[in-house]
């Protein structure tokens, strides 16, 4: 039996992970609260409100005042915030100021779309980055390595909207193989037309792949000539086993937090890809909601994005801890 000490960071692995998860979840709730306050204050400071935004420039002050009263925007800001928070605890996200549709309906559909697009990109990102990075890292300095490094560097330096536009022009407008714009006819989900996901996913991958590949490559190249690998080789371990047993386990853990960051980016809605391809996801909803000062929608999307960030980073740290070879040494 292991001696339980007061330090949370030591002890059996499950305990370390459990304590870390609990602490981070509590901290995460505080982060969410802080985010909701910041978002609310920011929307208060921005010029205009949902009344002036929804009626447009032709409405005139009297109509705007009337709409403001109708939406309850004439009441003090702290009161509105507390009411919104109360609704949140009851599981009620409120109603969109702009469209009158329940916020949950707007956000749920789009969150599903974003999850599908970002999730697909994320699922493809990790194996691609590891394979490419390891392949290049094990051939450090050779032609293959230089080719991977050069091409990833090139991809990294091309802005997303250029990549996306080029892809659309070549594969949609010129070749006609794929849709140029990923809109969804009413009544359909992206799963009904998976072809609309191809170009946005490739665009997202080109943005994220480069950085991840380069970090994997650097770790692999370093641990390939590290002490553990060298002594394994001297002990006659075959190279393939050296790679799987010594090089990759040492190279991968530092990549996990980076990968987690990219996953949150992908899931939180990739604005450029959504705009470029007209894909109905969270990010474009957030832009429209901000412009129309639709505070309930902005709040919901902001909180969801913050929650995803907290959870994915937590998952990344858990995985990183589990993968850390030092942690797996029995004490």
């Amino acid at each position: 039996m292991t001696l339980v000490t007061g330090r949370a960071t030591s002890g059996p692995l499950w305990r370390v992970v459990a304590v870390m998860t609990a602490r981070r979840l509590v901290a995460g709730l505080l982060v969410l609260f802080a985010v909701s306050v910041v978002v609310f204050v920011a929307t208060e400071i921005a010029p205009g409100d949902a009344a002036s935004a929804s009626l447009g420039p032709d409405a005139g002050p009297a109509a705007i005042e009337a709409r403001r009263a109708e939406l309850g925007l004439d009441r003090p800001a702290p009161l509105r915030y507390v009411e919104w928070l109360g609704g949140l605890f009851r599981g009620d996200l409120g109603v969109s100021y702009a469209s009158g549709v329940p916020v949950a309906d707007i956000v749920a559909a789009r969150a599903g779309n974003s999850l599908l697009l970002g999730g697909l990109a994320a699922v493809l990102l990790l194996p691609l980055a590891v394979v490419l990075g390891a392949w290049a890292g094990l051939r450090a300095g050779r032609l293959a390595d230089r080719a991977v490094s050069k091409s990833t560097l090139t991809l990294m330096s091309v802005p997303e909207f250029v990549t996306g536009t080029l892809l659309a022009v070549v594969f949609a407008v010129q070749l006609g193989w794929l849709p140029a714009v990923s809109f969804l006819p009413p009544g359909q989900s992206p799963l009904d037309r998976p072809e609309i996901l191809v170009l946005p996913v490739i665009t997202l991958l080109t943005v994220c792949l480069a950085h991840n590949t380069r970090v994997v490559r650097a770790g692999v190249a370093q641990s390939a000539v590290g002490e553990a690998a060298e002594s394994a080789r001297l002990n006659g371990v075959v190279e393939r086993r050296v790679v799987w047993r010594y090089i990759l386990p040492a190279a991968l853990p530092p990549v996990v937090p980076l990968f987690a960051r990219y996953v949150t980016f992908l899931l939180g809605g990739a604005l450029i890809a959504e705009t470029l391809f007209g894909y109905p996801g969270l990010a474009s909803a957030l832009v429209v909601a901000s412009a129309s000062r639709d505070v309930p929608v902005v709040q919901a999307v902001g909180l969801l994005a913050a929650a995803v960030t907290v959870l994915v980073n937590l998952a990344g740290d858990v995985v990183g801890t589990l993968l850390d070879p030092l942690r797996r040494v029995p004490r």
């Binding site: 447009g56 702009a98 006609g176 412009a291």
Partner: protein
Amino acid sequence: MTEGQSGLSRRSILRGVAGVAAAAALPGLAACNSGGSTPAAAPSASAAPKKGGRMRAAFIGGSNESGNILQNTNTAIDYVRTRVLFDSLVEIDTAGKPSYVLAESIEPNADGTQWTVRLRNGPRFTNGKPVTADDVLHTLRTHVSNKSSVAPLLMDIDLANAKKQDDRTVILPTRRPHGFLDLMLSQGIFIFSKDTTDLNKAIGSGPFTLAQYKAGQGALLKRNPDYWRSDVGGPYLDELELLTITDADARMNALKAGQIDYAGSISLTAARAERDNQALQLIIPPKWEWANFGAAMKRNKAPFKDPRVAQALRLAVDREVMVRNVTLGFGEVGNDLLGKHLPYYLDDLPQRQYDPERAKSLLAEAGMSDLKLTLRTSDYEYGLLEGAAAFAEHARKAGITINLDKVPAADFFADPKVFVGAPFQSANRKPRPLPLDVMFFYGSDALLPFTGVANPQVDGLTARLRTAVNDEQRRAAVGDLHRYLYEEGGDLVWARAPIVSAGTPKVHNVQSLGYPSFPSFRDAFLA
């Protein structure tokens, strides 16, 4: 409503300016002054109407779309959908004149204190019931009691005392004399059945019915087989699919890739780029619907209080260059008045010319030789920031320094106190039928006094216009007001430019009928 187009970067402005020589000559487009579509390249003569098919059309929309009949102006796609699911009493035709739809006549008494709407015999809602006086009153009252975005238009109607005379006749008394309620009723007021219980599923009488709808994505509409109207020909299409694509470049890509047949509101830069594309047609609205690009000076604030300063600024803009560089050759020069090409517009005033020397001497006379101004502007639509930058350039020759205060797109119209109160700002006015605009912009009780033009004289002129019930009175009253504003107004209109849409060559008869950003597909067909 405002409409976002992809903001242009500085670089693309410069590119636009550099490439202007090529665009200067656009014979086909410049010549097309009214109605219908202009092929980008191959002239396809207007085909004979053909029944059937599905047309796919994309417009600006987003998560702020609403299916509520009272919020049909939220986004362009909302308005387009509403236009074919419902009918209005009256609409504006290609010449800018009222044209009756559900109404058989809309007429005032001699002094505009009471209007009589006579309904046609025949229009039916999709629930089979006829469109009656009760439905009209119900619609107007619902708009007002719900404070919808068109409610301000109806404020002069005394709805409490409005009544139905018989099933087909509505009597609308006014709170004060009103000379053009017929035009007013054409502005986004669609009649729905009094049996409507859910405003998100209002019952209409339009040429199409809603088969599927998802806010933020689009709608599938089917031809209303029992459509009551037979005098216009439409509806021809079996199905109309409306799709939300908010980014202008994405709409264009979708059109070029064959995913859609019609792309609403493309940018002028895209229009120029596709001018010679045989696979597309550019659709140019009638000239009266072109947007008025310019600026508004607050004439009751310094330094614009001084008429010499206002006049100097009018002379400090090179309108020809604006047409070439900012409208990319698609537009025409403006003459500082709203309503060009509309009935009653005063055409006999001389065209203002660029005269920096005269501007300079006027400023010297006013003791303001070193005039420095700040122009509030934004890139919420193509042409504003570009025009403001060009204006600053032109004005420099007259010794005027104009600094640009670039406001983020979402903030430009956000606070009415700021955008109505700004002393000097960019403007891009979408025309309304002529006498209507007057009551919004000029006089002591103007809803949106952008130019601060208000004094007993102008109040007298607007009062006369407000009560002008017939053609002759309207013409005289608009003429007098225009003559006054030409000298004493605060509007700078340096160029007018179309809101261009694009379609495949098979697309025919998509009509703007007053609203080029959200046209009517009632009579559209594929051939």
